[in-house]
Amino acid sequence: MSFGHYIEVGKMDELGRMDSPMHRLDARVKTLTTIAFIVTVMSFSRYEVAALMPFFIYPFTLMAVGRIPPGYIVRKLLIASPFALAVGIFNPMLDQRVMGSLGSHDISGGWMSFASIVIRFSLTVSAALTLVACTGIHRLCAGLERMGLPRVFAVQLCLLYRYLFVIVDEALRMRRGVEMRSMGRRTLRFSTYVSLIGHLLLRAMDRAQRVYQAMVSRGFAGQFRVMRPTVVRWNDVAFMVGWAVFFAAARVWDIPTAIGNLLVGGVA
């Protein structure tokens, strides 16, 4: 049984190979739109929470049209979430100025900025994950290269992703080997860890060397090629322009507050 049965690394490839209107869009167009999305989201002030909400429409639309299961993206998001939590966790203690209120509770600036960090993290990371899931890493790298990213970086990115399989595979085999002989002890001595990590490096390097031999034997000369590279059509342009207009509108106008005022105003 291979490691693929344990973890979901291969799932991203499966999703990337599916066929949907979102998958058929040009990789460059999707990449540029996602970069525009990330830049817009990051450009808000540090205490902004409400105005960020409309931006969830972008990743959710991509998931819905691309038929990417949201549960999968959310699980990946949770794996990466400790980084965002670590960045923002001290804000509520450091910044205690009252910035707003929720019912009768005062909300400090620290909590506002913490919430803002978590929301921005969720938005940007889910958009990036969805981009990979509805494009496929090879098309994405080829698209980046055609956009002018130096080839060496595009190939590095592709190989980095490919070798993930290699290192996880070797690590799982070694762990199994250790567990078989550790007689139920859960913890390892420090010296054992050191030796394991050293071996993991050497084994992964050997394995990577053999994969490279196989690639070179089949004519690999430093460039990943893709069959039938996509061309930019009118619907690609419509996709990019449409979203750009939405991002600009959501950046300039605080849509949730405007809707809130409209409703409250209507009641009053």
Partner: protein, 247 residues
């Protein structure tokens, strides 16, 4: 398919750590020949195979393909002509789907999309795994992986097929299918293996390596029946020959 000759002339190879893996190895393998490279572990089989398509450059002597020495200038030609199937199929399959993996070599040859598609289909059909084309390689069984690994090399349309332990880790039925497949090829075949029973069925000639040198080179049955020679070099006389030539 052209029919090149492959030749080693006093081939020597020393690894950077000082291990002398090959010492003055010489042989000529003609068009369409099927040759088994046998020898105990560490005899130099895998090192020799990596010279056949120019992955390793000899530290002494030379490899020649159709009378042309394999050098830095001619290595692209050698890799097109000599297809290498690796011992561990997992090392050979690294793309997201079977068809992408088979297309990897032809794409690097700079062929047209239609020609690539034709070759992918032909190669998968040839090894009988056309139904696997959209599956991810890492989820296939060992036998399926081996077939796909062979298809990735066939799609390059090489003249010479070089295989490292093609029958290892296969169940009896998958091994039998592999043997039939290898027998059906018209390519020059060079097969490094410990599976001596398979050598008897597939190869008409064997080269015995020991300590990095050629200790015997000749017709399969003659050499594998030489019990003294076989045992002296860490091998044994295959059972299949005992049955065919009872004492």
């Amino acid at each position: 398919m052209s029919h090149p000759m492959i030749e080693a002339r006093n081939l020597c190879f020393v690894y950077p750590d000082g291990t002398r893996a090959l010492q003055s190895v010489s042989f000529r393998i003609g068009p369409g020949e099927s040759v088994g490279i046998i020898g105990c572990n560490g005899a130099g089989k895998s090192t020799l195979l990596l010279h056949l398509n120019g992955y390793l450059t000899p530290t002494g002597g030379e490899m020649r393909l159709s009378e042309v020495p394999i050098t830095r200038q001619t290595v692209a030609m050698a890799r097109r002509a000599v297809g290498l199937v690796f011992q561990d199929s997992d090392d050979q399959l690294f793309m997201a789907t079977v068809s992408e993996d088979v297309a990897f070599g032809p794409l690097n040859l700079g062929l047209t999309d239609d020609e690539i598609e034709r070759r992918v289909k032909a190669a998968l059909d040839r090894v009988g795994v056309a139904h696997l084309r959209d599956r991810p390689p890492h989820k296939l069984s060992g036998g399926e992986k081996r077939s796909v690994a062979i298809a990735t090399v066939l799609a390059m349309e090489p003249d010479i097929l070089v295989m490292d332990e093609p029958s290892s880790n296969l169940d009896p039925r998958a091994r039998r299918r592999l043997i039939e497949l290898l027998r059906s090829f018209e390519h020059t075949r060079i097969i490094a293996t410990h599976d001596l029973e398979m050598v008897v069925e597939v190869c008409s000639r064997v080269i015995v390596l020991d300590g990095g040198t050629v200790v015997a080179d000749g017709p399969t049955r003659e050499i594998l029946n030489d019990e003294v020679l076989m045992i002296a070099h860490g091998l044994e006389r295959p059972h299949i020959l005992r049955h065919l030539h009872p004492h």
